[in-house]
Each structure stands twice: as C-alpha cells, then as structure tokens.
Symmetry: C2
Amino acid sequence: MKVVLDAMGGDHAPHVPVMGALQAAKDYGINIILVGDESRIKEELSKYSFPAERIEVVHADESVSMDEQPSRALKKRNSSIHIGTRLLKEGLADAFVSAGNTGAVMAISLFTLGRLEGVERPAISAILPNLKSKTFLLDVGANVDCKPIHLLQFAIMGEAYAKYVLKEENPKVGLLNIGEEERKGNELTKETYQLLKAAKEKGLNFVGNAEGRDIYSGKFDVIVCDGFVGNVALKLSESLANILAKILKEEIESHFVSRIGAITLKPAIRSFKKRIDYEEWGGAPLLGVRAPVIISHGSSSAKAIKNAIKVASQFAESHLNEHIEENIGKYGKINGN
Amino acid sequence: MKVVLDAMGGDHAPHVPVMGALQAAKDYGINIILVGDESRIKEELSKYSFPAERIEVVHADESVSMDEQPSRALKKRNSSIHIGTRLLKEGLADAFVSAGNTGAVMAISLFTLGRLEGVERPAISAILPNLKSKTFLLDVGANVDCKPIHLLQFAIMGEAYAKYVLKEENPKVGLLNIGEEERKGNELTKETYQLLKAAKEKGLNFVGNAEGRDIYSGKFDVIVCDGFVGNVALKLSESLANILAKILKEEIESHFVSRIGAITLKPAIRSFKKRIDYEEWGGAPLLGVRAPVIISHGSSSAKAIKNAIKVASQFAESHLNEHIEENIGKYGKINGN
C-alpha cells in the first residue's frame, strides 16, 4: 500500500503533513510519497527519526494556495496536487491525500483521473459522529446546484462507501428533506424521492426522508443532499459544537461551586471531545473519480493527517470504485441513459 | 393590547395553551381571547384562579390536527385558526398566536389577512441564541423553492423585525451561503447577492455572505435563506444541542470522579440551558401578512406560549408592518415592479 500525500497542503504545510505522514508510516506501516518542495520537506524530515524505507519524496515546483481559484490552480501543472494525482494515474501509488484547497483538489483530481463510468458528478462527503456511530453525509460542497440524478448517484456512492470502507453491514440511506412524508420537500427532493424509490426496487437500501435532526440521530448511515445544503449543515455543526462548549465553560466559570466540580469533570470532557472530534475520522473522501482521493480540512493536525492516510489506504483496499460502477450500472441511471 | 390564542393548537391543547395564556395575563397584563372548543376551554379555566377581566373565550366548532394538509385545513372555515385570524381581520384583536399545524396557520393567515403591499411571499422566521445575543433566521420552512426577489424581501422583513421588535440598533443582515466571497454560491445566492448589494445603496444594512458557522457566531443579526435550507439548519441545531448534552451526560456518568463533580455543576448547567433554550424566545413570527401572527412549536410548554404572547404584543405595538411596506417600496422590488 502506497499513499501519496500533498506535503504543501493545509494551513501549516509542510510541517504538519510531514509529521502526520511519519506517524502513519510508523503506526500503520503504510508507505508514503511526500510531494512538494523537496528541500523544505527534507528539512522537516531531518528533525525526526522514522522508517526511511517507507518514505519517498517527489519534488513539485509549484504549490496551490488555500484561496486560489480552482480554474487558476488547474493551470499550475507542476503543483503538488497535479503531480500527486498523476502518480495515481500512472499506477505508481494507490491513493492521494491533501489538506489543501478543496476546490483545487477536486478540480485537479477530476481533470487528471477522470470520472468513474456512469458517474455524472463527483461528490465530497463528510463523516459525522452520531448518537450510535457515524453518519456519512454527501455532497458537502462540490455541487451547489444539483439535479435529481446527481442525488441518486450520491446515494449509490455513499451506500457503497459505508458498506465497503466503513464496513456497515446494511447501511440505511436517507434523503435530506424538510419532512418525513413522501410529498414533502422542494422540487429537487420531491423528484429525487421518486428516483430513490425506483432504485430501491433494484437494490438500493433507501429508507426514506431524513430531517435536519437525523444527521445526528443515528437513524441513517448515509444521507444525501445537494452541496449547498450539505455545506451549510457541516459548517453549522462544527461551529455549534464549539459554541456550546464555550457557553458551558463560561457558565462553569461564573459559578464558584461549579468551578470546583469542573476539575473532576476533566476525564469525562476528554472522552466527550474524542467522541465528537472530527479529526478522528481524518478526512472526506472525494467520490466518483477513478482513484481514491481524501480531502482533509485545511486546519488538520498531524493526527488528522495520519488518520486521513489510514482512511485513504482503506479506501484503496476496498475496491470501492468497482462496486460503485457496478451499482451505477444497475440502478443509477435514468431510462437506461 | 389584545392577543388571540389558538387554544386548540399544539400537542397538549387545550391544557397547555390555556395555562400559557393565564400566565401571560397575570405576568404581563395582556388581554387574551382563547379560541376553540368552549366547553373544554372552560373546563381548563375552572382549574385556576386568574384575572377574569383579561380572559375571553370564543367558540370554534372545528380544529385542525397537527398533520393535516394545509389545503384541507383551509376548507374548515370554523376552525380555531380561521376564527382566530378573522378576529384580527375584523379589528377585534391585535395579534394571533398558535402552536398548531405550521403549514395550516400560514395558509389560513395568508387567506384571511392577505399579504402586505408589495410582499410576494410571507416567511416564517426563527430566533436563535448566538454567542453575543440572537440571530433572526428566515425563511425556515414557508418557501422551499425561492427566487432572488423573495430572499431580498426576507432581508427587508427581517431587518425591520430586528430593528423595531427586537430593538437592535442597526441590525447586520447576511445572506446564508457557502463562502464569504461575492462569487461563491449557487444560482440563487449569486443572483440574490446582487439584489442585496443594490438594496444596500438604498438603505438596507447588508454586510455580506454568512456561512453555516455564522448562524451562531453573532456576526449577523439577520440571516436570510430559502425555506429548505433554513428548515434543515433549524432542525439540525435543535437536535445537535440535545445530542451534545446527552453525550456529555453519558461521559459524566461513566467516569466516577466526574459523577461526583457533576453535582456541583448543576447551577452552571441550569444557566447554560436557559441560554440555549428556544422556549425563552417564545415563537416564530410569520412575516409578510397584514397582521401580527406568531407560530409556536407544537411541543411548546406553557412558558413558551406565555413568551409567544408577549412577543405577539411587542410585534403589534411596533407598527412593524408599516415599516416593512415602506422599505419594500423603497428597495424591495426589481425594476420598480
């Protein structure tokens, strides 16, 4: 197993990506190719001891900044993202991980690797903790204007990911909507509901509409939505969790008795944080392109990068893309097109 | 000030609405007309002592169930919602409050009272606590498919509500989007951005795009979105707050030391709950119809109903609707239409 890591991606590159890579090589025995500015990467590497046989460096002249327009980034053919995805294309590695500019990683991956057979639009997903285990939400930002066929295909890709990578036995797929009943929704979701119902006849485990509250209820393993709604839901969730923790802290500090009790709470709060910690899940798979790509948050820590590399290797081992193409062929097209 | 309350609306009607009404009459000196099944209301009233001169009962033969289709509910002309809104129309009361079927309250209010001059679509709003004070979010479910002009008008109605009812001095208005930059978004938000920018020239305090995280950041006082996105955001928020509290409780209980400390935390947790408690805000104003209507959650407690009645009276006192019509005339139309 060999994973390519964009050493120039993220807010603290190459320092943090290099650290994450070395941890993944040590902890999981994964071979890693670091792509980016060779001298800066080697300088980072010189600070640590690590299993040298597992780490390669491939030089990239250019890098893409976090706020660069994807159309501009596409033209930088010697960027770490371009070179990294080309290594996949040429069969020299099994998966690609980047904590860089999401739009650029998506555009370049699509350009270099191409779409899976039958897939109209790749999607970015998010893995969110829920009361029971986790919810796989897609799309969370790749496609802000969607048609029903796109949501149907997101459902197929999400179901396959939950089954073959996350190892959920019979993942339950839901459509994000504003009510449980079939007749509820906007034009997009009402039409999508009909497509999902038809796909259910052919094997998709579609169980119905999911409401906003179901993203965290654990009632569904996979929830599909357009990328606009998904992006709002994701950012809202991240901030709300932080804000609630902040308010709780303020209240604890303003009550003397509570302040004393709070000290004893530390072990519980540590476990709590671990359970809601997005970094545990490592990164968001980009689904629908011809090789495994994982996009991590720009502010990822070394731990998050390490986990993303692990997820990327699981993605590569799962033969997910073959399953997706098979199911798209079976029930992911309209009128046989 | 006289507020009409739908005594048959909500999961525990007429018991809870009657209790809420009596509390509002006592605590705020507001006169209330209870509309609904007269004998059941009188039976409830007989349980309490209250300022009788402040409470009237108006009988309604029919009632609308919580899951009844709005189109069916519209035909029940003797329902508590129909009769309640007619009392407003006839000038016999100043505002209407219902914890009943949201779609039905909206449809019947619109049918009985009509739209404000120039307003294309009424909107339902939600008042959410944020780090600094509160965010006024609209639409949260009345309009699932929106055009840019609708969002522009939501901005105008929301700004006026924040200013004249919530008494924010110079409320900052944002457009819910997936990035801060002007060029970001889907078709709807990109076009809406241009309309809001134009309205800013004429007086609207539009400060730019808000992201999902800004609903709770306190950076904006008013945030506009289509009713689909708003509904998902609202339901997600309600559930996430509950779920985080549940996870924290589980963790506290599984750590012995923490379990002891938790006892001392009670005062802090009580204040915390009060700060994030949606019931404190009472209900969601329906904006764009010709008289003040407040829609409360079906599961509202008596306290929530009491607060909704107070909010309704503030709405009525504010002359909000005149301000909305004035601003719609000034900068709420496209090409002067």
